[in-house]
Symmetry: C2
Subunit: 199 residues, 2 copies
């Protein structure tokens, strides 16, 4: 509908995840009318990320060095590894400040429909890390959805044979939520996982 360059930009923006045709058009016009300096900064930041950011050779987290800041940090407990799907999840766990161990980023979850099996995930790299005898516990922190649960079950079964303690994050009611709005599965898990009220 638009003349060449504008339509091309709308098309390119529309290929980004979560950007529909209307948003792509709105973004394109924003870019068109924006301060050229601001747009130069946006373009530079895209180019820089593509050039400079890679994945940690140990844990698979994003980093600008060969290994990420967490793997390089000698104060992090080397005996515990928290296994997550994505780098975003590392940030989510870091925000809680309740974990001082290290991470392993799988790069996704098992999803047969999307053609993602164990071989597409960084599971081999996790096994290689386990040959380091320091590791005592693996905490599986995949997403609490179908794919995440399948991945957690797969990992738990595989790791059991190695003889390292494997734990999973607790399921239950989200803090600050309303019991009446909890779905049946979450509420069921909260019952299953109930604990002594005095502890």
């Amino acid at each position: 509908m638009y003349e060449g360059a504008v339509q091309e930009l709308i098309d390119e923006l529309g290929r980004l995840p979560g950007i529909g045709p209307k948003s792509a058009q709105r973004l394109a016009f924003h870019i068109l009318e924006a301060d050229p300096e601001d747009m130069k900064r946006l373009v530079t930041s895209i180019v820089t990320v593509k050039e400079r950011v890679k994945f940690c050779s140990i844990c698979g987290n994003v980093t600008e060095e060969d290994t990420c800041s967490i793997c390089r940090d000698p104060r992090r407990d080397p005996t515990v590894i928290c296994v997550v799907e994505e780098s975003k999840d590392v940030i989510a766990v870091e925000r809680t400040r309740s974990f001082r161990g290290r991470y392993h980023v799988l790069g996704g979850a098992i999803n047969p429909i999307a053609g993602i099996g164990p071989d597409q995930l960084r599971i081999r790299e996790l096994l290689n890390r386990l040959s380091d005898s320091q590791i005592e516990e693996i905490i599986i922190a995949t997403d609490p959805n179908l794919e995440g649960e399948a991945t957690a079950t797969y990992l738990a079964r595989m790791l059991k044979t190695i003889g390292i303690a494997v734990t999973r994050l607790a399921s239950g009611l989200p803090v600050g939520g309303d019991l009446e709005y909890a779905d049946e599965i979450t509420l069921g898990r909260a019952f299953e996982g109930r604990r002594n009220a005095l502890s």
Copy 2:
């Protein structure tokens, strides 16, 4: 939270309209993991738009030439001008295929709270075009909201003194909508604008 380049990209993306912190993070990770060729195309299309696209010297629509394709098209009726707020609105009217005249893009609507008065809009340029005696009708097609209506009223009063026919788009029930879901103002306008059922 992230290391340098990734966080900078998230910050830049978060400055775009309609992109919240979660979307900015999702987009940044998409960019990080995407095919470098795809990202090169995205960057090139942003740079190209900033370098090549400008505004038509006659109507204010986006164009890569000095004047836009509609102003250059000799088959478009030069006696009617449709006044819209944005280039997006030109596309919306073009899609109806029911208008064969030319356009004038104001570049926004009167909005005292945002500090946009008549002087910030391309109203002077519209008046300059009216010195061309060919123009017989101005159709005001600003948005049917507070700012659009204020702009339409301002333009209608000003143009009345010049002696050119000024019309406004009809207000009423959207086609395909449900009467019971129409808001009071729209329904009221539909009553006011009722027409002979046999015409």
